[in-house]
Symmetry: none
Subunit: 313 residues, 2 copies
């Protein structure tokens, strides 16, 4: 058994193909084929089932893959232990965000890494919670900021923020940050919202129910940009978090007002896979994100209520 074989196992398992793994690893496909064959011979057990267009893990292969992954983690820990604490970390890390969060967090996060760990390769992925969950489980990303998933399986989550949602209207709508709107005032009014598979939509509908009203959802659009455009052109109002609207408000393209009775909020968490130890890289990333969120809330840029332990910013 050699480390190169375990590494090959991990990549082939992930990609389902020797050819794709060869391309990724920069090694000829027959070499990988032989590595897998030699590993299977040594363990006397087939790890993959071959089919015409690739190969998939057997049950036993899956079991062994977990151990192989832990080996890689320990090797990374060895490298981390060997490095001085002050030595910049190396490596790659994938971090996932919902799109709106990515907009806010990306620049300061990249700046923080650039300063402390310039040789780390960051992969920042913006996607919706469902995709991010998937990628976390599959190990394609190492941590993610998520809107609180309903059934978060095998994650270790650290609460970050209860994010306030705001009523968004055109500039002449009379909406103002200083004048809160009771939710029941939306009764019968045309609103533009994301589709029902969106967490935000669920929250808004729960608030409507709580306020005893029904919403007139004239248009469904999952793109915030589309929703903003439609609002600006007088097609109705929407309900969104403030950060994506911040510039539009400053430029008098849109107006926003807080909602009350009830106050719609979304719960933001920082999530790591529970079945893999958190490397120093991921820990630094998580701490940095937490600090950025705290900073933005405290400066009033991101309205909401901080949760959990506050990182120094």
């Amino acid at each position: 058994m050699e480390l190169s074989q375990l590494r090959t196992l991990i990549h082939v398992a992930e990609l389902g193909s020797l050819s794709k793994a060869a391309e990724r690893l920069g090694i000829a496909q027959p070499a990988l084929s032989r590595q897998i064959r030699m590993l299977e011979d040594e363990l006397a057990v087939p790890l993959f089932a071959r089919h015409g267009r690739g190969m998939i893990l057997t049950d036993k292969g899956r079991e062994i893959l977990e151990h192989a992954t832990r080996v890689m983690v320990e090797l990374e820990e060895i490298r981390a232990a060997a490095a001085d604490l002050d030595t910049p970390l190396r490596g790659r890390i994938g971090i996932g965000f919902p799109p709106t969060v990515a907009d806010i967090v990306s620049v300061p996060l990249v700046a923080a890494f650039g300063k402390a760990h310039p040789q780390v390769e960051l992969r920042l992925v913006g996607a919706y919670t469902g995709y991010l969950l998937d990628w976390l489980h599959r190990g394609e990303i190492d941590l993610a900021v998520l809107y609180d998933p309903h059934s978060a399986r095998s994650l270790r989550s650290q609460p970050l923020l209860l994010e306030n949602l705001f009523l968004i209207g055109p500039p002449d709508s009379g909406l103002s940050a200083t004048r809160a709107i009771p939710f029941k005032d939306l009764d019968g009014r045309r609103v533009l919202l994301p589709s029902t598979r969106h967490g935000l939509r669920t929250i808004v509908e729960q608030c409507a129910t709580e306020a005893g009203i029904s919403l007139n959802v004239a248009v469904e659009a999952d793109s915030y940009a589309t929703l903003k455009d439609l609002v600006r052109h007088g097609h109705g109002w929407t309900i969104l978090p403030l950060p994506p609207i911040h510039d539009d408000i400053a430029a008098n393209r849109l107006a926003a007002a807080p909602l009350i009775d009830p106050v719609p909020v979304r719960r933001l968490v920082l999530s790591y896979p529970a079945d893999r130890p958190v490397l120093r890289l991921a820990r630094f990333a998580g701490d940095t994100i937490s600090g950025i969120v705290t900073d933005h809330v405290e400066r009033g840029i991101w309205p909401g209520q901080l949760l959990g332990q506050k990182a120094s910013a």
Copy 2:
């Protein structure tokens, strides 16, 4: 980094010598020298301090050794996962017991291993809880039966038994298994007990306080054999678990009676280190020990109350 380098690191660390490791591994000493050198070069940190007659780990080397050991454990898990469940296990395992428990458990435990896993090298260690805790943390033993430690740090413990303690007197003392003695009857009577650093002593003194009496501890001795001899020669009574006295009672050298109001008991647990995964070997050992304890209690040889899930015996 290669597995052969990590294996070399482990063996050299243990033996303190490249030459000895070379002999053990059947590889030329210069080859091992170079492996260590290459590992140190890749990690950019010295792992060993060389001296005239060998080499010892640096602090950083010790830290990295722990990860290397975990890598080996994972590789062993890979091999174990690959092997048929019915295949006998190989390897070595260290198991610790308090001396009295060792007396009871050793023979059936060795028999069970001999039957199911004859190629496993057992190392059975009898010592007091303090030492056993130390060795568990240091990785010198893989699991241990312990009397419930007050501050068990980083252990995963599985409760086994609440062991009853008995009043032990000379054969003509009138003590009988069928006639329980109230604890307050010991008021002012000479008793022989282990020293205050002994868990048993603590329990007995707690019971005395609860019964509202004070004990006249005429002699302190930590050896059960010594205590038994002193009791036999009429120097006082003692309080001990029944198993070490079992043969003496049968041979009419000593007599024993249960104590009540309160009943003194010791809590026995099976402990594994929490920071290392439990190998199949350790799991088999733990299950076997649990079964032996259950068997002895159910046959009346070991008076006490079984705890936790009962293993089939």
